[in-house]
């Protein structure tokens, strides 16, 4: 299971450095090691909110794929993503994200996720996302 999902690491996920570290039940855990190119505030060295956004989005997508009712013929598209930032991430520490798909209906997947560093109860950010489920995406023809 882990391997199958990992093979889907997109180029942007690779560029950020995210890695799926664990899948337990419906919960996916993702790690992003601290890196200089992710810094959003040069004054403090804290990573940019966008990194957290990208990781929450990606981890949430993985959580949908890890749901027991997911089948590989399905496709999904993010409908919305709401993120609350509770505190800045501390510099030089890995960012961790745990995402759980708590409902997979016929058309929509509902996912919540938390971003933290050392302690899952001392959160950097939380998010809720919904994904539209559908038939497989055909490669686009509108861009040459």
């Amino acid at each position: 299971m882990l391997k199958k999902v990992l093979e889907q690491l997109p180029p942007h996920g690779l560029a950020i450095g995210m890695a799926l570290v664990d899948v337990t039940g419906r919960v996916c855990t993702v790690r992003v090691p601290y890196a200089e190119h992710l810094v959003g505030d040069p004054d403090t060295g804290t990573i940019h909110g966008g990194v957290i956004t990208a990781t929450l989005d990606n981890a949430s997508g993985w959580a949908v794929r890890c749901h027991q009712e997911w089948c590989d013929e399905m496709s999904m598209a993010t409908l919305d993503l709401r993120i609350d930032y509770m505190r800045p991430a501390e510099p030089h520490k890995d960012l961790m994200v745990q995402a759980e798909c708590y409902k997979l209906s016929k058309n929509i997947a509902f996912v919540r996720a938390v971003a933290y560093q050392d302690d899952v109860n001392d959160q950097v950010a939380t998010s809720v996302a919904t994904f539209m489920l559908g038939t497989p995406n055909a490669p686009r023809t509108d861009v040459s």
């Binding site: 997109p10 180029p11 942007h12 996920g13 690779l14 560029a15 950020i16 200089e36 190119h37 992710l38 810094v39 959003g40 505030d41 040069p42 004054d43 990573i47 940019h48 909110g49 966008g50 990194v51 956004t53 990208a54 990781t55 929450l56 989005d57 990606n58 997508g61 598209a77 993010t78 409908l79 919305d80 993503l81 709401r82 993120i83 609350d84 930032y85 800045p88 995406n137 490669p139 686009r140 509108d142 861009v143």
Partner: protein, 145 residues
């Protein structure tokens, strides 16, 4: 030296391109900004490392979220003078269309600006401005000078 203070000291307080150049993550995304009078448009030139879905292909939802957030912050800093970079309190993103592998443009408006918090709406598009690919609204904490 704080980056915003440094730009002010150099008389470049409204040079948003210089600000972006000082943010490592904005450089990593390859984001640019274009200014026409008091209008600021952000640009996210397409590159392969932005892709989230290789089959379509489509730009990663996280890159889109980051671009919306940075577009909001740039507009906020253009409109107001801050001691430090605004802190995002929350952001809510609507994904409207998949992001094609082409350049993306962004605009934001500060819908309300208080002393400590600002509400900002942002929209990004590709071929047609009237067909946005994503929109966001967020709250940002300010540190007035």
């Amino acid at each position: 030296m704080k980056i915003l203070q440094q730009l002010r000291d150099e008389g470049r307080a409204d040079d948003m391109q210089a600000l972006l150049a000082s943010i490592p993550y904005a450089r990593f995304l390859g984001m640019q900004v274009e200014r026409k009078g008091n209008e600021v448009t952000t640009i996210l030139p397409f590159k392969d490392s932005l892709v989230g879905n290789v089959n379509l292909p489509a730009i990663h939802g996280g890159a889109i979220g980051a671009f919306l957030e940075l577009t909001s912050v740039i507009q906020l800093l253009f409109d107001t003078s801050c001691e430090r970079l605004p802190k995002t309190v929350d952001i809510s993103i609507d994904y409207l269309r998949s992001g094609k592998p082409v350049d993306t443009y962004g605009r934001a408006i500060v819908t309300r600006q208080g002393r400590r918090v600002a509400n900002v709406r942002a929209e990004i598009w590709q071929d047609e401005k009237s067909r946005p690919i994503a929109a966001a609204h967020g709250h940002f904490l300010l540190t007035p000078v």
